[in-house]
């Protein structure tokens, strides 16, 4: 399969979707999603530690234009077996430091954990994540989703229908 055609819906790993996840720290969210991706065979055992180490050094919190903020933790490709996206929505925000200003503590309620392989092969999915982040309405709907089916319906708004 040509991985350039993979979009966000293709790459969302159902086993790594944690809705209303009761986390108290960014680390807990990353560990939970990374463990699910490992169990699903998407990433190596080293992925969780690598993602945490990278988050500490180069944080991924993003202040968005609406009231809900997000983070996109990820790490180097060597820890990934096949690309996948994990998703967590949080009833209570956890702090991720701001990507552009690591001294800024961002309260985050939406987390996309990205397991990426070749730099250019997931352009489409990454663009779709950015499209979501730029749309406060879609972000709210995503955080309000109660089932995987609802999540997929919200994501379908930004993923062009399959040709």
């Amino acid at each position: 399969m040509d991985s350039t055609l993979l979009n966000l819906l293709d790459l969302l790993a159902p086993e790594a979707v944690a809705l209303n996840f009761p986390a108290t720290s960014a680390e807990a969210v990353i560990r939970h999603l990374a463990a699910a991706l490992f169990k699903g065979g998407y990433v190596r055992e080293t992925f969780a530690e690598a993602a945490l180490e990278r988050e500490a050094r180069l944080p991924t919190g993003l202040r968005l234009s609406g009231e809900i903020h997000a983070a996109i933790p990820h790490t180097d490709i060597e820890h990934v077996i096949r690309p996948a996206v994990g998703l967590a929505t949080l009833p209570t925000p956890v702090v991720f430091q701001n990507m552009i200003d690591p001294t800024d503590a961002v309260p985050v309620r939406l987390v996309f954990l990205l397991a990426l392989e070749q730099p250019k092969s997931q352009v489409e999915m990454l663009q779709q994540v950015a499209t979501i982040l730029q749309n406060p309405q879609v972000v709210s709907e995503l955080v309000a989703a109660q089932t995987l089916e609802e999540v997929r319906r919200v994501l379908a708004q930004v993923v062009p229908t399959q040709s």
Binding site: T60, I72, D76, L126
Partner: protein, 95 residues
């Protein structure tokens, strides 16, 4: 056609964020008729690659004194201030 301007796009791992940013800048500059090529790199690689660049766009903090114009922005991820950043990029690349 004139020689394309080189935009160096930096982020933490050179995989995710800079891919989005590079793609967005390429599309927007094409619309404006500005001929560019983008190169992605890790923030730590910028000092060694800056010499060949006309502009550096980064989503993470960079060392200062790179000798090239630097735009630090999350606009291509969050959408906040995107038009203003595009205007700045266009201005620098038209010089």
């Amino acid at each position: 056609m004139s020689k394309p301007k080189v935009v160096l796009v930096a982020c933490g791992t050179a995989i995710a964020t800079s891919t989005v940013v590079a793609h967005a800048i390429e599309e927007e500059m094409k619309k404006r008729g500005i001929n560019i090529t983008t190169r992605q790199c890790k923030a730590t690689e910028v000092p060694s690659l800056a010499a060949d660049a006309d502009l550096i766009v980064t989503t993470t903090p960079l060392p200062s004194n790179l000798g090239k114009p630097v735009i630090q922005t999350l606009a291509f991820l969050t959408g906040i201030g995107k038009e203003e950043v595009l205007r700045q990029i266009e201005e620098i690349l038209k010089q």
